[in-house]
């Protein structure tokens, strides 16, 4: 990132080399001649963007106020889809499951990611190899890691059952982790943490580079122990990183789709199974449109509601982080 960071902070900044106000006195012809190639460079990208992002989003929004089902007529139904969503118990259940999944995966990734970053921030041998190993799940495809975990969670001969039952004796009979309504969602959340913790670690490692070494030394001379130095020197410097991660990981948690889709169908033959215990916001939304009902209008309304919830939570998290930052 380096040089581009300041553009993130002020994306609207006028480039310093662009003349200010030079365009108003320009004759129309030369202005057109100057601007035409500029728009020419933008055209292919913006065309694709318009057709496949801007227009669909607008269309989806308008559709959410109709009763359109892919075929036939559509009538304007006002807020019907939204009121239906607000009173839909299945959607409520899916939202609760999504919040639970997000809370567990975000907390797990933050804590373990920070722990891993602190370990690899020490001068230990094999550091780069370990970083590679921790990062491996991040670059692996969701489908493949989901299938690996389906195998690990197998109810009879899975490795997890063997480890917990035969080796450690923590459980006394094998559990069908993905077919049991009380465990399925949390088993998938464990995969979510395992898959994402390497990414969190890398971001925290970058954050740790901003902690000045002198501060640590000064605190050590003043007699501060390892723990005190961590709390009073390291943690305050990681506040921005943590806020960034909190927001991004929350959005990621709410967007969960592939592991649920793959693992619940592999274990129970039903998306969101067993007994809808792993149904999350996006699998429920997807099913409305593509799971047979073709209820595109309702699915659109649901996806806008989920987006609104995510936006609201992000704002709350940013507010909370800012409040914490004040002395």
């Amino acid at each position: 990132m380096g040089t581009s960071r300041r553009y993130w902070a002020r994306p609207w900044r006028r480039p310093s080399h662009v003349p200010v106000g030079g365009t108003t006195l320009e004759p129309l012809g030369s202005r057109l001649r100057r601007l035409l190639p500029i728009y020419g460079l933008l055209l292919p990208g913006l065309l694709l963007f318009g057709i496949w992002a801007a227009y669909p989003m607008a269309r989806s929004f308008l559709m959410s106020f109709t009763d359109w089902r892919l075929m036939g007529e559509s009538t304007f139904v006002g807020l019907d889809n939204y009121t239906r969503a607000v009173t839909d118990p299945a959607f409520h259940r899916a939202l609760v499951a999504t919040v639970g999944y997000t809370a567990v995966t975000v907390a797990g990734q933050l804590l373990l990611g920070l722990g891993a970053a602190l370990l690899l921030n020490e001068r230990i041998h094999g550091r780069s190899l370990l970083r590679l190993v921790y990062y491996l799940p991040v670059i692996s495809s969701w489908v493949i890691v989901s299938l690996i975990f389906v195998w690990l969670y197998n109810g009879q001969t899975g490795v997890l059952n063997w480890l917990l039952n035969d080796v450690l004796g923590i459980i006394d009979k094998n559990v069908a982790w993905l077919a049991e309504p009380s465990t399925a969602l949390w088993a998938i959340a464990l995969l979510g943490i395992w898959k994402g913790v390497g990414w969190t670690m890398v971001v925290y490692l970058a954050g740790l580079q901003t902690v000045p070494e002198e501060l640590h030394e000064a605190a050590a001379i003043d007699g501060a122990g390892t723990r005190a130095r961590f709390r009073n020197v390291t943690l305050p410097f990681l506040r921005t990183t943590t806020t960034f991660l909190l927001v991004v990981l929350t959005i990621g948690g709410f967007s969960t789709f592939i592991p649920i889709f793959v693992m619940s169908t592999a274990a129970t033959g039903q998306i969101g199974g067993p007994l809808n215990s792993t149904e999350v916001a996006l699998t429920y939304t997807w099913k409305q449109a593509f799971g047979g009902g073709l209820d595109f209008a309702y699915a659109s309304a649901l996806s806008f509601l989920v987006a609104a919830v995510v936006a609201l939570i992000s704002i709350l998290e940013l507010r909370f982080a800012r409040a914490q930052g004040q002395p």
């Binding site: 990132m1 040089t3 581009s4 553009y7 994306p11 480039p15 080399h17 662009v18 003349p19 601007l35 190639p37 020419g40 460079l41 933008l42 292919p44 990208g45 694709l48 963007f49 496949w52 992002a53 801007a54 669909p56 989003m57 891993a116 370990l119 690899l120 230990i124 590679l132 190993v133 799940p137 670059i139 692996s140 495809s141 969701w142 489908v143 493949i144 299938l147 690996i148 975990f149 195998w151 490795v159 063997w162 035969d166 080796v167 979510g192 395992w194 890398v202 971001v203 970058a206 959005i251 990621g252 967007s255 969960t256 789709f257 592939i258 592999a266 449109a289 593509f290 996806s303 989920v306």
Partner: protein
């Protein structure tokens, strides 16, 4: 002082032990996948699990590649990935360059709109994109994948490339011969050659996205002949419930190009990590 030394040594031991234990947890699932892929079918679900196969065999790899349609899935994925990466990178470079170096009416609004889609959950777009694809006759075609994959991280890629081009010193563009040259010339002969590292980062992310994408593909593809690797592998598992050796052999072959890319280009992977959203 002696106590301090002892404490430092203990701390070192604990650090190593924790780092190794953590590494073990991260690598174990992969180790089991690799070992299962090399086992003859009869030994796949054994208790206790045997990490080193007693009779290692390549049978699963051979069967996965020859029988079934795995070879076809592989080339479908390759085709889609190469074209969508090329398209996405070129468009993002052009957009990023223009937004970074020129002032024109609508600049702020257009860039803002691009950034906005970066933050919108994918499902919001998936539903209406399906309708657009249907209207354009792109349902159940690989072109439907290629176009949508190129758009999926166009906002992010443009944002990255804009940063790269904005950081270039103006003197580069003022230099003699190209003085007064149009934007196209400045882009092609000056900006583009100098932005190769940035292009590589953007290309890696586009490649990964297209190679691993599942949701859009399973939504629009009905024809088995058109399946890409992620759907093909999942389909293999659905069809052959217990043939885990086969499933993991196929998974390993799908993972191999990504792993090679990762080990060779580790730096680009990690430098772009901050923007690679963790979408599932």
């Amino acid at each position: 002082m002696i106590i301090g030394q002892w404490e430092a040594r203990l701390r070192r031991v604990v650090t190593y032990a924790a780092a190794l234990a953590f590494g073990l947890v991260m690598i174990a699932p992969f180790a089991f996948m690799v070992s299962t892929a090399f086992k003859p079918h009869a030994y796949v679900l054994e208790i206790p699990p045997q990490l080193i196969p007693e009779q290692p065999t390549l049978d699963n790899f051979v069967r996965a590649w020859s029988s079934g349609d795995f070879g076809r899935y592989f080339f479908n994925s390759l085709f889609v990935t190469v074209l969508s990466t090329a398209l996405s990178v070129s468009l993002a470079a052009m957009l990023g360059f223009t937004f970074a170096r020129y002032e024109f009416p609508g600049r702020r609004v257009l860039f803002g709109a691009l950034l906005f889609t970066m933050m919108v959950p994918g499902m919001l777009l998936l539903i209406p994109q399906f309708i657009v694809a249907r209207d354009l006759g792109l349902i159940n075609t690989l072109w439907g994948l290629i176009i949508v994959y190129s758009v999926m991280n166009l906002g992010l890629n443009t944002f990255l490339m804009r940063g790269v081009y904005a950081a270039m010193p103006q003197e580069l563009f003022d230099a003699g011969s190209v003085d007064g040259a149009g934007p196209w010339r400045a882009f092609r002969s000056i900006a583009l050659p100098l932005s190769k590292p940035g292009l590589a980062t953007v290309a890696i992310f586009s490649w990964l996205l297209a190679w691993d994408e599942f949701t859009w593909a399973i939504t629009i593809l009905a024809d088995q002949d058109l399946y890409t690797l992620p759907i093909g592998i999942r389909n293999l598992q659905v069809a052959q419930q217990t043939e885990w050796g086969l499933v993991f052999a196929a998974s390993l072959m799908a993972l191999a190009p990504v792993l090679v890319l990762f080990v060779v280009l580790q730096k680009q992977f990690v430098s772009g990590a901050f923007v690679g959203a963790t979408k599932g």
